[in-house]
Amino acid sequence: MSATTELRSLGRQGSTAKRQNKVAFWFLLPWFVGLFAITLGPMVASLFLSFTDYNLLQPAEFNGLENFTRMLGDERLHRSLGVTFTYVLVSVPVQLGLALALAVVLDRGVRGLAFYRSMFYLPSLLGASVAIAVLWRMVFGADGLFNEGLGLLGIEGRGWISEPETALGTLITLNVWTFGSPMVIFLAGLRQIPRVYYEAASVDGASRGRQFLSVTLPLLTPIIFFNLVLQIIHAFQSFTQAFIVSGGTGGPADSTLFYTLYLYQRGFGNFDMGYASALAWLLLLIVGAFTAVNFWASKYWVFYND
């Protein structure tokens, strides 16, 4: 009985490759349609549009490299690049540092771990919402909660959101505030480090600080790397908070003009869709370059145990 079934399945194996191609096609059909119609197709179209002048109403008109030469003299674009780089390069390291610190503290057998983890994780679910951005406007406004708190300490506040020097800082704070989701990933990573390593290290007389530097940190570098890549890509695409906090303008004085916000203004405010497509491709190149550099640099600091 079992021999015959085995024979039968052996007989099947000859044509498995073919048969599975057909089955696989049906399983993947929705994904294929989505990939070509919604992702790759529009990607190619957007590359094409980036060499045209297009406003939705008239057919796209080829204009060569004009969109790209225009970028060179576009001061608002330069401003938005500066704002976005500052945002990414400040908020991501601070956010990840905080996430790592709290994950390490929580991992060392704190009672009520589940409670703390929930409390720290909650903001990362709320942070992307319009409601929280509205709240931020009230917290950091001239007569907002933050200044009330400072007032109790006898410190004179300012219009954190209405002044160009500090407006971006409030958005960075908001991104840092959502450190819960990388923290949860760090916690999962920390749990995979065998306890034996710490026991061996403490037998050798290593202090807790030493253990952190020589055991925890090296073994955690793959997770740090993963979080870093993800959060950088994520931060480059931030949009909602800047839009709500600045009322869609990117102000004051373009100090919160995120790249995506500028792209939105050009494409869907001015219907300058050729230029917006070129901006989109520049964004892709920038994010791609950051990711590539990250992967390249990982050779030097990411430690793989196996």
């Binding site: 696989a24 994904w31 992307a128 026991e199 995506t260």
Partner: protein, 298 residues
Amino acid sequence: MTDTFATTTRPPSGPAPRRARGGFRPVRSIAKHALLILCALVMLYPVLWMVVSSLRPNDVIFRDPSLLLNDLETGNYAEGWTAFADPFSVYLVNSSIVVLGAIVGNLVSCSMAAYAFARLEFTAKRWWFAIMLLTIMLPIHVIIVPQYVLFAQLGWVNTFLPLIVPKLLATDAFFVFLMVQFIRGVPIELDEAARIDGAGHPRIFAQIILPLMVPALAATAIFTFIWTWNDFFSQLIYLTDPDIYTVPLALRAFVDAQAGTNWGDALAMSVVSLVPIFLVFLFGQRFLLRGIATTGGK
């Protein structure tokens, strides 16, 4: 082995290393808890203040940074509910339609694709898989302009279709990846046993794999819920008719129109808009955390 070694060589008076790490030293433990509670309080203060302030009269809101509530003022909720162009329930229903469509779409299309990637052999599988992973990182801005043109030509602008149809086509590749990771953890012997019993791939998928991957499906549903409920960018682009505004669009329109005069109503409706997320978080946390660990821990 190291364990016994450690306990036998240590002087009996000193605490065992494991216990020291466990935080049994009372002073250190109390300090740590105090620090953690302080951290959590600072983080959650704005949210708590939002809830408390939404229950205060409008003129008191900015003069009271405390969390103490003298009397419950529900006027902001009653007023805010009808202060927008439509009753707030309209926006809640609109958001719910989009969210439900997105959840169903993601569950069906992503699980199908994931089954193929995890269990089937087909031509150039590694390449397709690599492309799928790359699309996770693709910024939506790169495709939004032509996508808008496409949906505009189909007459889909100001309908929910541009927000739902892409989900039916597994464009949220993150979930495909999450499910592939999960299916890989299901013993292949189960598939083989079913195959010997004469089951084909559709049946193995529907009757063996799907029931076993409920945690991954739950994580997908919950993440889709939260991300779609919070989504602003694509809803801002595709929905311009105030009658089909979703919750985030309605909130934004209200806040901009008020220009900072009626914060009580804005706060109250902001709180309302966060309640579904909070509930999902409360009941689905287990799946969320496991979902993150599945994709992130690797």
